[in-house]
């Protein structure tokens, strides 16, 4: 991959806008089209593109397993936790009205937190699935290692 300077440069150029767009979709979800699911997928696309060009070893340096696996659970916990919090505050499950003094703010806060949970989990699951497949291939083919692959593709 060292020879493909166009691919490498373009990837490096594209990654920040993709991630920024992911964040935009994430936090704009309560005003317009978008939301946690789409944002999570877009954010994961940046990582997948990175993996395609630079190989899974370097991708695992950016998104190590000890980050992605717990993230799958933390997103769900954030979502479900908001619901539990609203129940403890006296509302129904996921009734955001009770989260703040003003129901309007409560709704805003609730949907942001819940969508953040969705985004985290979707991102983590997408990256986990993709990297698992890529790494599985490496194990199966008994490649000498990702570093070597990096050199001669």
């Amino acid at each position: 991959m060292r020879l493909h300077s166009i691919l490498r440069t373009m990837t490096k150029l594209l990654m920040p806008p993709i991630m920024l767009f992911g964040l935009y979709v994430q936090f704009h979800g309560d005003y317009g089209p978008g939301g946690g699911f789409q944002a999570g997928v877009i954010f994961a696309v940046a990582f997948i593109l990175f993996t395609l060009i630079f190989g899974p070893t370097r991708a695992r340096q950016v998104a190590p397993e000890w980050v992605t696996t717990p993230m799958c659970a933390i997103g769900v916990l954030l979502y479900a936790g908001v619901g539990v919090a609203t129940m403890l505050l006296g509302g129904e499950y996921l009734n955001y009205n009770v989260l703040a003094h003003d129901p309007h703010h409560g709704q805003h806060m609730g949907i942001l937190l819940v969508e953040l949970g969705v985004g985290l989990t979707v991102w983590a699951v997408m990256v986990t699935i993709f990297l698992n497949f890529v790494e599985r291939h490496d194990h199966a083919a008994l490649d000498p290692g990702d570093g070597a692959e990096d050199g001669h593709v």
Partner: protein, 542 residues
Amino acid sequence: MPSLLSQNLPALQVVLPLVAAPLCLFLRLPRLAWLFALAVSGAAFAVSIALIVLVQQNGAFSYDMGGWAAPWGIEYVIDPLDSVMLCLVTGIATLVLMYAGPSVEAEIPRRQIPVFYVLFLLCLTGLLGMVATGDVFNLFVFLEISSLSTYALVAMGRDPRAQTSAYRYLILGSLGATFYVIGIGLLYMMTGTLNMEDLARRIPEVAETRTISVAIAFLAVGLALKLALFPLHKWLPGAYTHAPSVVTAFLAATATKVAIYVLVRIFFTVLGPIEAFQTLPATVSETQLVGVLAILAMMSGSAVAVFQYNLKRLFAYSSIAQVGYMMLGISMVSVTGMTGGLVHMVNHAMMKGTVFMALGAVILRVGSPDIRRLDGVGYRMPVTMAAFVLAAFSLIGVPGTVGFISKLYLVRGAIEGGHWIMVAAVLASSLLAVIYVWRVLEVAYFRSRPAGAAPVREAPLVMLAPMWVLALANVYFGLETTYTVGLTEAAADYILNYVPGEGPTWEHPLFEDPHGHGDGHGTGHGAGHAPEQDAHAPGVDP
């Protein structure tokens, strides 16, 4: 705090395992994850008991998720049928989890054990959600949660064939779920609503359209695939045979039951007002297509079971026959028949739960469920096999066991309806059950153990205890039927006489004041949420 708890019981029922599942991932020690999952399912069981008491006191009631009123928001409805199903699923889950510890440690790689319990709890969440929800799309979401986790659980079996079985289950299960979602999509197209009660109210206006007929066809086929009705059952034997023993015990006792519940719910409440089930194509002399398929399932399932060597596969085919019994009762569309079908759902969970738990114990100690390697196992593992014998008698329908009760109601229902073919089919299928059960008993008790066989210990106490609780339940509920028959009869009566909107539960609060709820957050300080609390109080906190 107590009122806070009782107010949110329907949500808690589903949320408890949902929150516990991701937490379980952080418990690295296998034993810790096991005890945590067990505690959670025990708590869920307590919640379901509380719900049964509430429903018996006050009748059906509903819960508005997120405080959004019913036809717009997602509503959870707990009626007599729901409360029975919730209790069944959580009860079996608790017993199976208690039993799971040693079996899982033997069959699952140590590193994957926490993940196993995560998936188990997710599957439980899905099954409970399917029962509790009052919204057809929400039901689809929970159907997928339970199915996807089930595919992964099946694939965790030791045998490499578990993966092909899981893959086949994945393809067929996804087909079933897709058909279901196409069906509700078509219903939504015609009515503009996804709430079950609202659908039931609006469907009669559009009942004569072709769209609704197509929707009914998709729903019938999709759900029949999910519940393994006769020609659509091919995923079941492989999945049950190769899944880890604990998963087989749990799935056999709950998963198909919940799918049958969904069929009953969709066809008798959502589509109840247009009598969709009654108008499914009639084939043989007033007997519906479903009834005919049920008879075929009973005969073919039992007949194939007679020739199996792998005991897990044998009882998987027997499960297909038992699904036939349940659908037979439901296809009679009478209170007695429906009671027979529903009570068999509960009873079969007890029988097959015990049978597969006993087989799991045998696999743990002997290493194989192959009948040719089990000579004299009745003397090598006497306690386990005694529980197995009780459940097997129950499967045949020996008087004094639950199997007799369900067959009694099925036959009574068939005679009341004048369906003589069905009476004959129940009896014939029971005779076939005698044959396949006898094969096992003969090997277990009438042959001496091979000379060179290694000595086998009895299964550990934590596996025997839940197995025996369930085995004794087979006898107890066979003699004392107030709870099982009483509850299911109430449920059958409720479901067959279901009239939307006339339930004692709720009115559309939004019809009177269109800006009261939907724009609630626009109204400012306390005004936005105070009336909302009042509006739901009668339904939730009686």
